[in-house]
C-alpha cells in the first residue's frame, strides 16, 4: 500500500465480478501516464469506496503498473419482513428502498444498522416503544445475500394519565379539549389518541400556550414537562407544569410605519380596542387583515409586526402595528400543472389575476375558489414564488389534482322508488378537458323510459355567459303501483335553449326558452276522476279509443253481447277506457341566483339563493306559471362540525283563458264538492314531495293530497304549493377523503292545493342520518330516517338509497 510516487504506465483491476472494468475506470481519478503519489492513492481509494460497490479497495504497484484490487459487495437477492402488523410490508420496503436497500442493489452492511434505526423510529412514532427488530443476513452463492428482518411489535404503550399542574383559572377538561394526545377511552382503538408521540405532545403544549395567550395571559409559560413510563413499559404518564401569570388588558392601539393607505383606513381593521383583554389570536387576525389589504393592491411581501409595550405593574399592553409594505409587486407568468386532461384555457379563464398586472391577493384567492367550484379538481394549491433576479416580480404557480368529474354508468342502477333502472348514462362536466358539460342518458325503469341529451358551454363568451341546449323525451306510465302517483300516462318530449348571464362575481340571471309537448293518456276506470274532469273542463272532452283485439270470428272484438260468430258481418267496436290529450306549451324560464358556496361537491361555507319563474307563454294549450325559491346556507360551527340549512318554496297557478275556465273542486279526501273554481296548476305539473332527494323517510312523491281508490291503492296527486326544507349537521373531517360525508338531518315538507290550506301541523317531519360518497361511478347516497310527524295513511320508507345519480 505505501509506495512512493511513480509514473503509472498501465492500470489493471483485479477481483471484479459483477462490475465492468470500464465502470472502475470512469470513477477512478487516475489516468494512464499520471504521476501517482500517496495523496492521489488515498483520493482514489476514497472515490472507489464512494461508489458503494466495493467492501474493500487496495492499490498495489507491480513495476510501473498500478494494480487496483477490489472485493465487490454482494448483491441483495431477496428481502423478507416478518411479524409486522402495524405497518404494511410495502411501506416498510419503500422506506428501505429510500435508504438504498432493495432487491438487486448492492448490499452495504452500514445500511443494515441504519435500517434498524429507521424501522425503530417509525415504530416509536406510533408509540410502540418496546418493539424488537432483528435483521439477519444469509450469504448465498455468486456473491449474493438474502436479508430477513424479524419484527416483534409488542404492545403499544398507552397514555394512562395527563396531569396539568398550576392551572388555576381553567379546568383540565377545557384545556385539553382538542388535544391530539388523550388518555385511553373507548374510541382510542380508532382514533389512536392514547398513543404517545413526542411530536403530538409538543403540538398540544403549543395549543395550551395559544389557549392562554388568546385570553390575555401574556406571561403564561409551560415551565417543564415530565414523561414517565410504568415499570412494565405499558403505560405512559405525562405531567405539564405551567405558570398562568396575570391577565393583561390592551392599553393603546395604533398603526405606524409606511402604511400606503390612509392611517385610519388600516386602524379600522384593528379588532382589539382599548380596554379589551389582550388576545394573541386577535392580534394575529388583525395583522393578517392588514397584510391582506396591502396584498390586495400589489404589496405581496407586506409584513406587519405587532410591537407590544408591556407595562407589568398595572398589567396593560400597548400594541403598535408596525407596517413594512415591501416592494409593489407585479405578476410575470401564471403557470398551471397537474392538468393532464383539463385544457389550460379552462383554468386560465377562471383566473381573476392577470399576467403583466399588479399582484392582488384577493384576485388570487377568488381564483382559487372559482377553480374549486368547477368540480373538476380534488385539490387546488396556489404558490406565488418570487422571480429570481427580479425582486419586484412573482410567478403564480397553480397545481391541481384532477378528479373524474363525470359519470359513465352503463348497466344497472337501482332507486328505491323507481325500481330497477337499466341505464346508459354519460355525464361529463369537463368533456374531454374542454370545460364543456355534455350529458347523454338513456334510462328505463319500472314505469318510465327517458332519453335526454344536453350540452352546455359555460364560457360561450369570454366574460362567462354560458349557452346550452337540451332535447329530451320521456314516457311515464304512472299506472305502475311503485310510483305512488295518480294513474295516468304522460309522454313528454321537449327541447330547450338556456343561458346563464353573470351580473357580479356571485350573482347571475338565467334565461331559457323551450317547447314541450305532453301527451296524457287517462284510464276512465283507474285515473282519479278529478284529473279527467280537469282535462275535460280545461281542454274539452276527448273520445275514448276503440279497443282492438280479435274475437273467435276473426273480426275486431265486439262487445261480447253482440259478437255473432259470423265473419262476414262487421260488429260494432267496444270502446276502451283510454282517452288521450295533447298539450303543447312554449315555456320561458327567468331566474336570479346568488351562489357564494366555496366548493362544487362538498361545500363547507357559502350561501345559495335562487328565485325562478317558469311561464308557459300565451297561445299554448294551457297557460300556467310556476314560481320557485331555493335557499341553501353552509357554515362551519367547529372545524369538525358543519351545518347546512336548506329550504324550497314553490307555487304555481294558471292564468289567462285556462284560469277563466271553471273546474270542479274536490276536497282533501277526493270527494267531489259541488262548487266550481278557476282551474289552478295543471296536475301533471304539480309539485311532489317525499323520497330520497326530498323529505327522507317517506316514499317518493307520496306526501300531500291523495286519492284513494277502492280498498288500499292510493295515488298521490301532488299540489300547486310546495314548502320543504332540511337542517343537516355534517362532519367534514371524519373521513380523510373529501368525497365522503356523514350527516345527521332533520327534513320537513309538504305540498298543498294552495297557500290558503297550508298548516304547520300537516307538515311531514323526519330525522335520521345519511352517508354520501362520490364514487368514481357517480354519487351514492344511503339514508336512514324515522318520520316524526306524519299521517296514518302516509307510506313510510325508512331506509333509502340512490345510486348512479338522479338525472
Amino acid at each position: 500500500q505505501n509506495f512512493d510516487a511513480f509514473q503509472v504506465a498501465d492500470i489493471r483491476v483485479e477481483g471484479l465480478q459483477r462490475i465492468a472494468p470500464g465502470t472502475v475506470f470512469t470513477y477512478l481519478p487516475v489516468e494512464r501516464g499520471d504521476q501517482i503519489d500517496r495523496r492521489k492513492t488515498a483520493e482514489a481509494i476514497r472515490a472507489l469506496f464512494r461508489t458503494g460497490f466495493f467492501s474493500d479497495v487496495r492499490l498495489e504497484r507491480q513495476g510501473d503498473i498500478l494494480v487496483v484490487v477490489v472485493t465487490e459487495r454482494p448483491a441483495i437477492n431477496t428481502i423478507t419482513l416478518t411479524g409486522n402488523k402495524d405497518i404494511q410490508t410495502e411501506d416498510l420496503l419503500n422506506g428501505l428502498r429510500g435508504i438504498g436497500l432493495s432487491e438487486g442493489e448492492t448490499f452495504n452492511p452500514l445500511n443494515l444498522d441504519r435500517v434498524t434505526q429507521e424501522l425503530l423510529r417509525q415504530y416509536n412514532n406510533r408509540g410502540k416503544y418496546n418493539v424488537s427488530i432483528v435483521p439477519t443476513v444469509s450469504n448465498l452463492d455468486r456473491n449474493r445475500v438474502d436479508i430477513s428482518i424479524v419484527i416483534a411489535e409488542g404492545k403499544a404503550s398507552r397514555i394512562r394519565d395527563i396531569n396539568i399542574v398550576g392551572n388555576e383559572t381553567f379546568g383540565e377538561d377545557v384545556l385539553r379539549r382538542n388535544w391530539e394526545s388523550g388518555t385511553s377511552n373507548w374510541l382510542s382503538w380508532y382514533r389512536r389518541d392514547d398513543q404517545y408521540s413526542r411530536e403530538k405532545l409538543s403540538g398540544d403544549l403549543e395549543k395550551l400556550t395559544n389557549f392562554y395567550l388568546d385570553r390575555g395571559y401574556v406571561d403564561f409559560n409551560v415551565e417543564s414537562t415530565q414523561v414517565a413510563i410504568s415499570p412494565d413499559k405499558r403505560d405512559i404518564f405525562v405531567t405539564a407544569n405551567v405558570a398562568e401569570g396575570p391577565v393583561y388588558t390592551v392599553s393603546s392601539v395604533k398603526v405606524s410605519g409606511e402604511t400606503i393607505l390612509p392611517q385610519e383606513e388600516l386602524e379600522r381593521l384593528i379588532i382589539l380596542k382599548e380596554g379589551d383583554t389582550f388576545s394573541r389570536g386577535l392580534v394575529e387576525l388583525t395583522s393578517d387583515a392588514i397584510i391582506a389589504t396591502l396584498g390586495n393592491v400589489g404589496y405581496a411581501f407586506a409584513q406587519v409586526n405587532p410591537v407590544p409595550e408591556i407595562d407589568r405593574d398595572n398589567r396593560t399592553i400597548g400594541l403598535n402595528f408596525f407596517v413594512d409594505p415591501g416592494p409593489r409587486v407585479q405578476v410575470r407568468r401564471i403557470e398551471f400543472s397537474g392538468n393532464t386532461t383539463t385544457a389550460d384555457e379552462v383554468l386560465r379563464r377562471e383566473m381573476r389575476q392577470f399576467e403583466g398586472s399588479w399582484f392582488s391577493q384577493a384576485a388570487i384567492d377568488r381564483s382559487k375558489i372559482r377553480l374549486q367550484r368547477l368540480g373538476f379538481f380534488d385539490t387546488v394549491d396556489v404558490e406565488t414564488p418570487p422571480v429570481p433576479g427580479q425582486p419586484d416580480m412573482v410567478d403564480v404557480k397553480i397545481t391541481v389534482k384532477e378528479r373524474n368529474s363525470g359519470q359513465f354508468t352503463f348497466g344497472l342502477g337501482y332507486q328505491q322508488s323507481y325500481g330497477l333502472i337499466t341505464t346508459l348514462q354519460l355525464v361529463q362536466n369537463n368533456f374531454v378537458g374542454t370545460g364543456n358539460r355534455f350529458a347523454l342518458s338513456l334510462q328505463h325503469n319500472s314505469y318510465s323510459e327517458q332519453f335526454a341529451l344536453s350540452f352546455t358551454d359555460p364560457y360561450f363568451t369570454d366574460d362567462g355567459i354560458s349557452l346550452g341546449f337540451s332535447i329530451a323525451h320521456s314516457d311515464f306510465d304512472y299506472s305502475d303501483r311503485d310510483a305512488n302517483l295518480a294513474n295516468f300516462n304522460n309522454a313528454v318530449s321537449s327541447a330547450e335553449f338556456f343561458s346563464l348571464i353573470p351580473l357580479t362575481e356571485t350573482d347571475a340571471i338565467s334565461v331559457s326558452l323551450g317547447i314541450d309537448r305532453n301527451q296524457i293518456t287517462t284510464d276512465d276506470f283507474n285515473t282519479p276522476p278529478m284529473l279527467i274532469d280537469y282535462l275535460v273542463d280545461s281542454l274539452g272532452d276527448r273520445a275514448r279509443y276503440p279497443q282492438y283485439h280479435v274475437d273467435n270470428d276473426g273480426n275486431p272484438q265486439t262487445d261480447p253481447s253482440n259478437d255473432d260468430d259470423d265473419p262476414s258481418t262487421t260488429d260494432p267496436l267496444t270502446l276502451g277506457p283510454y282517452r288521450k290529450w295533447n298539450i303543447n306549451a312554449w315555456r320561458l324560464q327567468l331566474g336570479w341566483q346568488r351562489d357564494s358556496r366555496n366548493d362544487f361537491l362538498m361545500p363547507t361555507r357559502g350561501l345559495y339563493h335562487r328565485i325562478g319563474a317558469e311561464i308557459v307563454l300565451p297561445g299554448s294549450d294551457l297557460e300556467y306559471y310556476r314560481i320557485n325559491y331555493n335557499f341553501e346556507h353552509y357554515w362551519l360551527i367547529r372545524s369538525w362540525l358543519g351545518l347546512r340549512t336548506a329550504a324550497e318554496i314553490g307555487y304555481g297557478d294558471s292564468y289567462g283563458d285556462t284560469r277563466k275556465q271553471q273546474c270542479r273542486v274536490y276536497d282533501e279526501l277526493g270527494e267531489l264538492t259541488t262548487e266550481f273554481e278557476n282551474c289552478g296548476l295543471p296536475f301533471f305539473r304539480n309539485y311532489y314531495v317525499g323520497g330520497p332527494n326530498s323529505v327522507r323517510g317517506f316514499e317518493a312523491n307520496s306526501i300531500g293530497p291523495i286519492y284513494t281508490f277502492g280498498d288500499s291503492y292510493q295515488q298521490a296527486l301532488g299540489g300547486s304549493f310546495k314548502t320543504a326544507g332540511s337542517f343537516e349537521l355534517y362532519f367534514p373531517t371524519l373521513f380523510d377523503n373529501r368525497g365522503t360525508r356523514l350527516s345527521a338531518f332533520f327534513d320537513w315538507g309538504n305540498v298543498y292545493r294552495g297557500p290558503d290550506v297550508w298548516e304547520a301541523k300537516t307538515l311531514r317531519l323526519s330525522a335520521g342520518i345519511s352517508l354520501t360518497w362520490q364514487s368514481p361511478m357517480g354519487p351514492i347516497a344511503i339514508s336512514y330516517a324515522a318520520p316524526l310527524q306524519y299521517e296514518r295513511h302516509d307510506q313510510i320508507e325508512r331506509l333509502q338509497f340512490t345510486f348512479g345519480g338522479s338525472f
Binding site: 416478518t82 425503530l120 416509536n124 416503544y129 418496546n130 416483534a152 394512562r160 394519565d161 396531569n163 396539568i164 399542574v165 398550576g166 392551572n167 379546568g171 383540565e172 377538561d173 385539553r176 379539549r177 388523550g182 388518555t183 377511552n185 373507548w186 374510541l187 415551565e223 417543564s224 415530565q226 414523561v227 414517565a228 413510563i229 410504568s230 415499570p231 412494565d232 413499559k233 403505560d235 404518564f237 405531567t239 407544569n241
Partner: protein
C-alpha cells in the same frame, strides 16, 4: 404456520404471563383483622399508594382528596379531614371522553412531630395535626408531589416535587427555607423515591440513577454518587431511576436502581462500599443482618448486609411485578400484580402462606406497625390489615 399458532397465545406471549401459583405444603393461617375501601384508588395515576403507621394509628388518603386517621386494631375512623379538593369534570357534549379528574392526593402521607403532611397532584403540601386532623398550614410547590414528604427530627419538611426540585419547608408555617434543583432525563420510570434523613443529611434517589445528599440546614449539596450509569441507544434502554425506598444503616446507605444495580455507600461521603447487579423499581428493606429486595423479574433476594452476597433467592413468584418486601415477625411479605399477598419465611425464603385481597394489583409497599400488624393497600383503594400470623 406461525400465524395459526399465534391465534392461541403463542409461547412468546406465555413468556410474559405471571407465573402460576404452586400449592403450598402446610400454609400458615393468615386472616384479615379488618378492611376499608378508599374510593377508586390510584391505579389510573400509576402511583404506589401506601399507608403510614404511627403507633396505634394508621394514616391514609382517599380518592376525594381527604386524609383519614384509623385505629390500627379495629379500622374505625378516628378523624377524617379534607386536604385538597378534586374537580371531576367531563363536558356532557364529548360523551366519549371519560370525566377528567383534576387534583387529588398522591402517595402516602409523611408523619412526624405530631403532624401528618400530605402531598397533592397539583403541587399542594398540606400539614394536619396528627391528633385532631385540623389543618396547620398549607403551601404549594412547582409540580405534583408523588413521594411522601419527609418530616425530619429537626422539624424541617422535605418535599420532592415531580419536576426534579426538592423543597425544604419550615415545619411551623410551611414557608420555604431552601430549594434544590436538578435536571431530569426526558423519559423516567413513574414515581419518585421518598427522601430519608440521617446525620443532618437528607438523601434522595434521582431519575438519572444517582443518589444526592443535601445538608438539612440549607439544602447545599453534600455529595452525589452515580449508582447505575444510564447507557443504551434510546431513552427506553437508558432508564436508571432510583425510585424505591433507600435504607440507612449505622453509617452506610443502601440504594437500588431500576437499571440493575444495587449499591451500599458510606453515608457521610458517598464512597461506594459494595455493589451487586440486582435492579428493582421498588426499594430495599434493611434488617439487622440482611437486605431484602424484589427484582423486576419477580425474584425475591435476601443479601448479606456487609458484602451483598446472596443468602437466599426465591423465584417461584416470577413475573408477578412484586412490591418492596416488608417484614412481619419472622416472615417476609410481598404484594403482586394479581392482588395476592405472599408470606415467605425470613430464614430461607420458602413460601409460607398467601392471601388474595382483591383482583387489583398491589403497588404500594405493605407497612408493618411496631405491634406487628401489617397494613396493605391495593391500586383500587382496598385497605386491609393482617395481624401477626402464628
Amino acid at each position: 404456520c406461525a400465524t395459526i399458532k399465534g391465534w392461541f397465545s403463542s409461547d412468546k406471549k406465555k413468556a410474559l404471563e405471571p407465573a402460576e401459583l404452586v400449592e403450598i405444603a402446610n400454609p400458615i393461617r393468615v386472616d384479615a383483622a379488618w378492611s376499608r375501601n378508599l374510593g377508586d384508588g390510584r391505579a389510573r395515576q400509576g402511583l404506589r399508594q401506601r399507608a403510614a403507621i404511627d403507633g396505634e394509628r394508621v394514616f391514609v388518603s382517599n380518592d376525594e382528596g381527604r386524609v383519614l386517621a384509623l385505629d390500627l386494631a379495629t379500622g374505625r375512623t378516628l378523624w377524617d379531614s379534607a386536604a385538597v379538593e378534586v374537580t371531576r369534570s367531563g363536558s356532557r357534549l364529548s360523551f366519549w371522553k371519560k370525566g377528567i379528574r383534576d387534583g387529588g392526593l398522591s402517595g402516602g402521607p409523611g408523619l412526624g412531630n405530631g403532624m401528618v403532611v400530605a402531598g397533592g397532584r397539583n403541587g399542594e403540601v398540606v400539614a394536619l395535626d396528627a391528633d385532631t386532623g385540623a389543618e396547620r398550614w398549607r403551601t404549594r410547590v412547582t409540580s405534583e408531589v408523588l413521594a411522601s414528604p419527609l418530616v425530619t427530627a429537626g422539624g424541617l419538611i422535605v418535599v420532592r416535587s415531580g419536576d426534579g426540585r426538592v423543597f425544604g419547608l419550615n415545619g411551623h408555617d410551611g414557608s420555604r427555607k431552601w430549594v434544590f434543583d436538578r435536571g431530569l432525563p426526558n423519559l423516567s420510570v413513574r414515581g419518585n423515591g421518598a427522601p430519608i434523613e440521617g446525620g443532618g443529611l437528607v438523601y434522595l434517589g434521582y431519575d438519572d440513577g444517582s443518589i444526592v445528599a443535601l445538608r438539612a440546614l440549607d439544602g447545599a449539596l453534600a455529595w452525589e454518587q452515580l449508582i447505575a450509569p444510564p447507557e443504551g441507544r434510546n431513552d427506553l434502554e437508558r432508564l436508571a431511576d432510583v425510585d424505591g425506598e433507600m435504607q440507612l444503616g449505622l453509617n452506610e446507605l443502601y440504594a437500588v436502581s431500576y437499571h440493575g444495580m444495587m449499591m451500599a455507600l458510606a453515608s457521610d461521603s458517598g464512597r461506594p462500599l459494595w455493589n451487586r447487579d440486582i435492579g428493582s423499581y421498588g426499594g430495599l428493606t434493611l434488617l439487622s443482618d440482611r437486605l431484602l429486595v424484589a427484582d423486576p423479574d419477580g425474584n425475591v433476594w435476601a443479601l448479606d448486609r456487609n458484602s451483598g452476597a446472596a443468602l437466599w433467592k426465591q423465584d417461584a413468584l416470577a413475573r408477578r411485578w412484586l412490591t418492596t418486601p416488608a417484614v412481619q415477625g419472622d416472615y417476609v411479605v410481598v404484594g403482586d400484580i394479581e392482588g395476592y399477598l405472599h408470606w415467605l419465611r425470613l430464614s430461607d425464603g420458602t413460601l409460607a402462606g398467601r392471601r388474595r385481597i382483591e383482583r387489583a394489583p398491589i403497588l404500594g409497599t405493605p407497612q408493618v406497625s411496631a405491634s406487628g400488624v401489617l397494613v396493605a393497600v391495593t391500586a383500587e383503594g382496598e385497605l386491609i390489615a393482617f395481624p401477626q400470623p402464628q
